[in-house]
């Protein structure tokens, strides 16, 4: 349906993810990675967000599970009015259980532009381990202060709760992260958390006129995000 909008677009730099002959029908490919201890509900949360209706792909020898979802993002304009809209192809990467056996490697973090960092509200240790995850992120992510949203998951299990809301919030504030209490079971705050992260990543992109600071700039084989020429990203609304 969007093919007419792709016309006249100059060929993007070579990408690994998109065939050169097929112009993708989106403006940005955004990759998020879900992190956190085993069993905090990363997979369930992504499952919930993608409504169980989208393909999830598992590359077994690579050990990455990812789900995809298309969203339209509207960048709020400086004056508060609704800005232009952008078609986003979201890729949500999951650790696929490999973190049970080993620590994640640098390559795993590469290319991810935003991070959903989860702990389990019924498991105090998973909150304590947030520090470790953040230090891993600082080491491995594309920059030292990547965009991260902290989620205290399983808020539906109120009777088993071990972490009070103010403790999660305190941890988030300490590291300057947005905080959501989520439930992958009921869907509470799940979309909000992902959308918040998307806002942060898109805002960073807008601000970054110097492209070397953009997510993906560390990747060896060229950029990982797609940005069309200015004219093409224009009004789709």
């Amino acid at each position: 349906m969007f093919t007419n909008l792709e016309m006249g677009d100059s060929a993007p730099p070579a990408h690994g993810t998109v065939g050169n002959n097929n112009q993708p029908d989106y403006d940005y490919l955004i990759k998020f990675l879900a992190l956190g201890d085993s069993g905090v509900g990363k997979t369930s949360l992504l499952f919930q967000y993608t409504d169980n209706t989208f393909n999830n792909k598992f590359i077994s020898t690579v050990g990455i599970d990812f789900r995809e979802k298309r969203v339209v993002h509207r960048m709020p304009a400086a004056d508060g009015s609704v800005g232009r809209s952008q078609r986003i192809h979201l890729q949500l990467w999951d650790t696929a259980g490999q973190e049970r056996f080993r620590s994640l490697t640098t390559a795993f973090f590469r290319d991810a532009m935003g991070f959903l960092l989860l702990f389990d509200l019924t498991n105090e240790q998973s909150l304590m381990n947030i520090r470790n995850w953040l230090s891993q992120l600082q080491t491995h992510a594309y920059c030292e202060n990547p965009d991260v949203v902290l989620c205290g998951n399983k808020m539906d299990l109120e009777d088993q709760r071990k972490v009070r809301e103010d403790r999660g919030r305190e941890m988030a504030e300490k590291f300057g992260l947005p905080y959501f209490e989520t439930s992958a079971a009921t869907g509470h705050n799940v979309s909000k958390a992902v959308e918040c992260l998307l806002d942060m990543v898109m805002t960073r992109m807008e601000k970054c006129t110097d492209k070397t600071k953009l997510p993906g700039s560390r990747q060896r084989n060229g950029q990982t995000y797609k940005q069309k020429d200015g004219g093409d990203t224009g009004c789709l609304c």
Partner: protein, 128 residues
């Protein structure tokens, strides 16, 4: 060299995974390790039965389902058995997909018994 190396290897593999895959019985593997045993688990090294079993117990999956694709055995010069396995495993999370792995053992013979002297485990994942 031991002519029964293949039978010994097969029995060992069956007993080892039976013990490992249910967390309740994982600690019962400790007597299988020789006091000089070495484990390299995803690149991390552990020495001695106690440290090794602690590591095994720390793998956060209560039940592991396993499919052995193939196992190869060789007799060693000192009467032991070398075992090399490739297979797939699945953790108890309903969402985790099967993951390929390789597992290598060197079994040492002492009197009429066999002990694990060397063990190397890796998930066969390539996102390095």
């Amino acid at each position: 060299m031991n002519p029964e190396f293949a039978e010994i290897g097969q029995q060992f593999v069956a007993a080892y995974y039976k013990g490992f895959d249910d967390k309740n019985s994982r600690a019962t593997l400790q007597p299988l390790y020789h006091s000089t045993a070495l484990l390299t688990f995803e690149g991390c090294q552990f020495q001695g039965p106690q440290a090794i079993v602690e590591k095994l117990m720390s793998v956060p999956s209560d039940n592991i389902q396993r499919a052995i694709t193939c196992a190869d055995y060789q007799p060693t010069i000192d009467g032991g058995v070398q075992v090399c396995i490739i297979g797939q495993l699945k953790t108890d999370s309903e969402h985790d997909k099967p993951m390929p792995f390789t597992h290598v053992f060197l079994l040492k013979r002492e009197n009429a018994n066999y002990f694990i002297n060397n063990e190397i485990f890796r998930l066969a994942l390539h996102n390095f």
